[in-house]
């Protein structure tokens, strides 16, 4: 098979589990943001109780997708690539912003301002192994790690807002969290509970910001637009795309 012929081959970019995980993750995030703002602003769109109920339903959906299905995807892909080493390698190349990503991002910025002709390919597919070396847009790699931390923070602040004395198997989790928030809250001249509420709102705004960047800056691009279809519907990757580089390495290093 010629090189060109190989490049036109279609491979699977996102499997069905990844597509459903992403879809549920997106729905949960959107509903949580919307209902959170309804609760905060007292919008007349729906009742407080319905907003709160929807909010509370979507919390486990988000946590299940973000803390169970996403790690499962990382682990299963990595395992297929080569056991424990494969997991570490897969995680590093797929999700951690490294020097290669920095070069790609720099190239993208230069391309945007007309200083570089070629838009750098950010997806690298290894034909020899049948696995991706890296897949995500470099900017999104930054976002995905920050988002993970923000989801953790909004979850723990949410616990305190949900019930100020929430306990799990007798462990006073909410009390501990409020105490921990109280270590940082004096920076903003607040008490622990006040800080938790403030941070919860601040993170909500961050997710709106991130959503716009993720969906409309990174993906609202004629060259990568097809990934909308890929992530939600067919999961296909077209290796002849200008943002994809196909390599032939026996093993990643």
């Amino acid at each position: 098979m010629s090189s060109n012929a190989q490049k036109t081959k279609t491979v699977e970019r996102y499997n069905w589990l990844e597509r459903w995980t992403h879809t549920f993750h997106a729905i949960a995030m959107l509903v949580l943001i919307f209902t959170g703002l309804v609760i905060y602003f007292g919008w007349d769109i729906m009742t407080f109780h319905n907003a709160r109920l929807l909010h509370m339903i979507m919390v486990p959906v988000l946590i299940l997708t973000n803390w169970c299905l996403v790690p499962y995807g990382i682990l299963s892909h990595g395992w297929q690539e080569g056991g424990i080493k494969g997991i570490v390698r897969h995680f590093y190349y797929s999700y951690i912003f490294n020097m290669e990503d920095f070069r790609r991002l720099k190239g993208m910025i230069l391309n945007f301002f007309g200083k570089q002709e070629k838009y750098p390919a950010f997806t690298v597919y290894n034909q020899a192994t049948g696995h991706y070396k890296t897949k995500l847009h470099p900017m999104f790699k930054i976002f995905i790690v920050v988002e993970g931390m923000c989801i953790f923070l909004i979850f723990i602040t949410g616990i305190v807002l949900y019930k100020v004395d929430w306990a799990f198997f007798g462990l006073p989790i909410a009390y501990w969290l409020t105490t921990i928030f109280g270590w940082f809250s004096p920076i903003l001249n607040m008490n622990g509970l006040q800080f938790a509420r403030w941070l919860h709102l601040a993170l909500t705004y961050f997710f709106i910001f991130e959503l716009i960047c993720h969906a409309f800056i990174l993906e609202f691009d004629s060259k990568v637009f097809k990934y909308w279809k890929s992530i939600f519907i067919d999961g296909k990757e077209y290796l002849d795309s200008p943002v994809v580089e196909v390599i032939n390495e026996e093993e990643h290093h």
């Binding site: 007292g42 009390y175 509970l193």
Partner: protein
């Protein structure tokens, strides 16, 4: 819910208060309030205390005397009846005692019956009292304490002398507990250096740490304090229901009795206007009748039982009369509660700019960037 509460109150009306454990005692105190508690158990309290008079030495530092006024406004029992019922000898209280500080040629004259300075010296020498501190303690300028003079003594010295021989200390009001109004951010704050008894704002230590003292301290913040909080705390201490040598289980992390400042609930939970919040009726201006959160009510961040206990002989409270909670029982008061009539989330955080504005700018910039990026990429494609 209401019937459960009534049942609980009925249950607490028939206790042998001298035999119950601390937990039941505190529950009864919380459920009944000072008014009912002392009137129901007055005889038992007197019986328990009839052989043990307790001295209370009440000092005034940097303050407005509002906490004394609030205590004096107690009803059924009133201030005098409560002292009598609890067998308290109020041996010193600057705004109530008859004595004055009398100096002749710079020297104290007369006896403790006439001269407050001599009385205080004698009491401090004797010891064995509960020290009530109302108002913060000035440490400035430069650690001298001279910003806060009473007679020819600094209040810092008076506190040091009296605290040394106290059995326990009750810091009364937010000025005494965390600094309160006297540490409002201003040009002279650092110079005055006012401190709470064992905590200043969120910083633990207070004047006790400066003086190297180690005594049991109970913080009763509030601007002013509720009379119940004071008298019931004193009653619990006198009856041994609060062991001052082991306050850990009774007080929260900032030294307040959990029974009055419940860590597991906020004032917002029991607010009479809570129903409006739940319906999303959030007032934008005063006197609209709904929830006061958007006009600065801090009740969602505040731990106190104001909404259950209520003020003015149990008839009303701040939010009930249209005033947003200003978090006066919290260490952040007043700096972290200001502006009082602006919700915390809308108060300035970064160079005076609030979270909403920062977020609107960020989201707006992202939208513009997305548009520009899309146009640019489409043009490039062509």
């Amino acid at each position: 819910m209401a019937s459960e509460k009534l049942n609980m109150i009925e249950q607490f009306k028939n206790l042998d208060i001298l035999k119950v454990d601390r937990r039941t005692f505190l529950k009864a105190v919380a459920a009944l309030g000072a008014t009912s508690f002392v009137s129901i158990y007055g005889n038992q309290l007197v019986k328990a205390l009839e052989f043990s008079e307790t001295k209370v030495l009440w000092l005034h530092g940097a303050e407005c005397t509002g906490c004394s006024v609030s205590a004096l406004n107690a009803t059924a029992p009133d201030f005098v009846d409560a002292l009598s019922a609890l067998n308290i000898s109020l041996v010193f209280h600057e705004t109530l005692l008859a004595q004055q500080g009398i100096f002749v040629d710079g020297k104290l004259v007369g006896t403790s019956d006439l001269n407050a300075e001599i009385l205080l010296e004698e009491l401090a020498e004797e010891g064995g009292y509960i020290l009530v501190v109302e108002g913060s303690i000035g440490n400035g300028p430069d650690g001298t304490g001279k910003i806060n003079m009473i007679g020819n003594h600094t209040f810092k010295d008076i506190f040091a002398k009296t605290a040394k021989k106290a059995d326990a200390i009750i810091a009364l009001g937010t000025c005494a507990t965390y600094g309160g109004i006297t540490i409002t951010d201003c040009a002279t704050r650092k110079y005055c250096d006012f401190m709470g008894v064992n905590q200043t704002e969120n910083k633990k230590g207070g004047m006790m740490q400066v003086l190297g003292l180690n005594k049991p301290v109970i913080n009763l913040p509030g601007c002013p304090i509720h009379p119940d909080w004071f008298f019931l705390t004193v009653a619990a201490v006198l009856l041994g229901k609060i062991d001052v040598s082991d306050l850990k289980g009774v007080l929260d992390s900032i030294g307040r009795p959990k029974v009055f400042y419940p860590p597991n609930a906020t004032l917002h939970d029991n607010c009479p206007r809570r129903g409006f919040y739940d319906r999303g009726v959030l007032d934008k201006r005063f006197a609209e009748g709904g929830c006061l959160w958007k006009i600065g009510c801090k009740a969602p961040y505040v731990h106190s039982d104001c909404a259950l206990r209520k003020w003015n002989n149990g008839t009303s409270m701040c939010m009930q009369v249209g005033g947003p909670c200003i978090a006066c029982v919290e260490p952040i008061f007043p700096n972290g509660a200001m502006p009082f009539y602006v919700e915390t989330e809308s108060a300035g955080v970064l160079f005076g700019v609030n979270l909403g504005t920062i977020s609107a700018l960020a989201v707006g910039a992202a939208v513009v960037a997305a548009g520009v990026h899309a146009v640019r990429r489409i043009n490039k494609e062509k």
